[in-house]
């Protein structure tokens, strides 16, 4: 069926049959009832931590127009549970398993990556950007220095392809992306959810048990698309786009902005088969536009010299 369009992409040496994969935290074995797992570009697990984590107090999500704010809090059953119970579930499939990890310290990240560098795991995605995990929503990926440090330690700890997931909640995402690249990341994922808040007008209380949470969904797409565009210009390693992608058109837009692959998250909550629909429609899009390789889309945004924006005012005030 896909004889005429080559959908495969390569992310830091890891070959994917197509550029569509789940965003961490929005994927689990339940989707097996909805779609053929052998069709996905990759599996990306919910973030695991070494310590057992219960997660945040409820309510954990609140909806807003075109968006969702979540503060789940990374409930985790730890490494042995993951290796013994979760991993075998994905073993029968011919789809690379990417494990998302998080830790409170750079050393913690490194030791977790080392422990998970085992057969059956195709790549590590370091979630150094989850806005809920540290006090006040601060995370490694908010600063280039802490990103470089944690990435360097991760790089020394594993030979697996290393993807570093950045946060949109910082002034200069391209600088953070450059730091990850310099420290040896094989790819950056841009981005995570946008730190946000909602207040209930009946009770005057925050809508989330955690007070703040991460915004996702179609509403954030233009913001993250811009960050992908900036990061793709800043680094040579692949950028994986993640933010509000619901349709193949969204995926194409991200690839034109410079993404080599895309992650789909919140859209799956609305249309559980969103990922396979995007894969089908992406192929159709390419065929109609007579694009034989999906990689031809990467960075294909056409910017005439006269249209070059004056980005000076976007630079952070240091």
């Amino acid at each position: 069926m896909s004889a005429d369009v080559d959908l495969s992409v390569s992310i830091g040496g890891l070959r994917l049959r197509n550029p569509v994969m789940p965003a961490s935290g929005t994927f689990a074995e339940g989707l097996e009832r909805v779609m053929d797992f052998n069709r996905l570009g990759a599996f990306v697990t919910k973030t695991i931590t070494r310590e057992l984590r219960a997660g945040n107090p409820l309510p954990r999500v609140v909806e807003r127009p075109g968006s969702l704010i979540n503060a789940i809090g990374i409930p985790s059953k730890g490494v042995p549970y993951f290796v013994e119970k979760t991993m075998p579930h994905y073993a029968p499939y011919d789809t690379p398993l990417v494990v998302s990890i998080s830790a409170p310290t750079a050393e913690g990240f490194a030791s977790l990556a080392a422990e998970l560098s085992i057969p059956g795991i195709a790549a590590i995605e370091a979630n150094i950007s989850c806005p809920n995990i540290e006090e006040d929503g601060k995370a490694f990926a908010m600063r280039a220095e802490s990103t470089e440090n944690v990435t360097r330690q991760l790089r020394a700890a594993t030979d697996l392809p290393l993807w570093v997931k950045l946060t949109p909640n910082t002034g200069d995402v391209p600088e953070v992306a450059r730091a990850a690249e310099a420290a040896g990341a094989d790819a950056v994922v841009v981005a995570n959810t946008i730190l946000s808040m909602a207040i209930d007008l009946k009770s005057f209380k925050p809508c989330l048990g955690n007070i703040m949470g991460g915004l996702s969904g179609p509403a954030i797409k233009p913001i993250v698309l811009r960050q992908v565009f900036q990061c793709a210009k800043a680094v040579k390693i692949p950028v994986i786009g993640c933010g509000g992608i619901s349709t193949a058109d969204d995926a194409v837009e991200y690839m034109l902005a410079g993404a080599s692959a895309v992650q789909v998250g919140t859209a799956t909550f609305l249309q559980p088969a969103a990922m396979t629909t995007i894969i089908d429609d992406l192929e159709t899009f390419c065929r109609h536009r007579e694009i034989s390789r999906v990689t031809d889309l990467i960075g294909g945004v056409v910017i005439e010299e006269a249209d070059e924006p004056d980005l000076a005012w976007l630079d952070p005030v240091s």
């Binding site: 935290g25 929005t26 994927f27 689990a28 074995e29 339940g30 989707l31 097996e32 009832r33 909805v34 779609m35 053929d36 797992f37 052998n38 919910k46 219960a54 997660g55 409820l58 309510p59 954990r60 999500v61 609140v62 909806e63 807003r64 127009p65 075109g66 968006s67 969702l68 979540n70 789940i72 409930p75 029968p92 499939y93 909602a198 209930d200 809508c207 969904g217 799956t268 909550f269 609305l270 249309q271 559980p272 088969a273």
Partner: protein, 292 residues
Amino acid sequence: MSIHLDHAGIAAIPVGGAEAAASCTPWKASVVAELAEVVSHEAVNSEYRHLVLGCGPEAAAALPGQFFQLLCPHPLGEQPFLRRPMSLYGADPDRRQVEFLYKVTGAGTRGLDTLKIGDRLDIMGPLGTGFTLDPAWRNIVVVARGAGLATLAPLARAAKANGTHITAVLSARRPDLLVSVELFQSQGADVVAVTDAEASSGPANVERILRRLIADGRCDAFFTCGSSRLMRVQQRLAREFGLPGQVAMEQQMACGIGLCYCCVRDFNVDGEIVSRRVCWDGPVFDLMEALP
């Protein structure tokens, strides 16, 4: 919180599809999102609406206690983003129909209320793990209030098919707000209506009714949904008399299929507090493990 469960968070999956998947046999969906067609949509009283949809074979195979995630139309001036969990009220595999009974309480159900015959509604399901009927049970007791009046209703037909007699204790604020009475009676169930207006719905009176049923040999198991107070009464009696029970639990949901860990609740499993996902591990749980 602005995403009220408009109605039930109640649900349940029949199992089956999940573990199958992998290699050899061609993969087949057991949960689908589809555009179902409104066959009928009527007010049953001042609060509840009865919605009947024409659907595909997967949805129509839904079992009692399972639920669907409905992508509700936007009512004027509101934009519900997430799907809304809605417990199954009825399913007919032969006619390819599913039924829902809902109360208009939030943006999602206000959207549902706008549906007209012939309109399409995006339904995703069936989801979750439903009720289990032991063939050995001759008599069961159903205790329902609020959303439970809809969630427990499909048990009427299932129990009859199982040769099990139901006594349904149905609770509401006022007699005119009681629903599902005729449905239970049409399947041969005895209905005991209790209401706040008649001061008969309090836990003490319901306990008296349940003790009498137990004494008369009319209660091999409890099935309940919709009231924490009445659940606690049944837990106490179940412990005292060594009876099994099942409860359908509600919780605010996002994905409905076990991905997001938004709908967790604590359960007491042999003295240990365990967190479970209502959408995936439930929504039907062991009565004795449920915490209010």
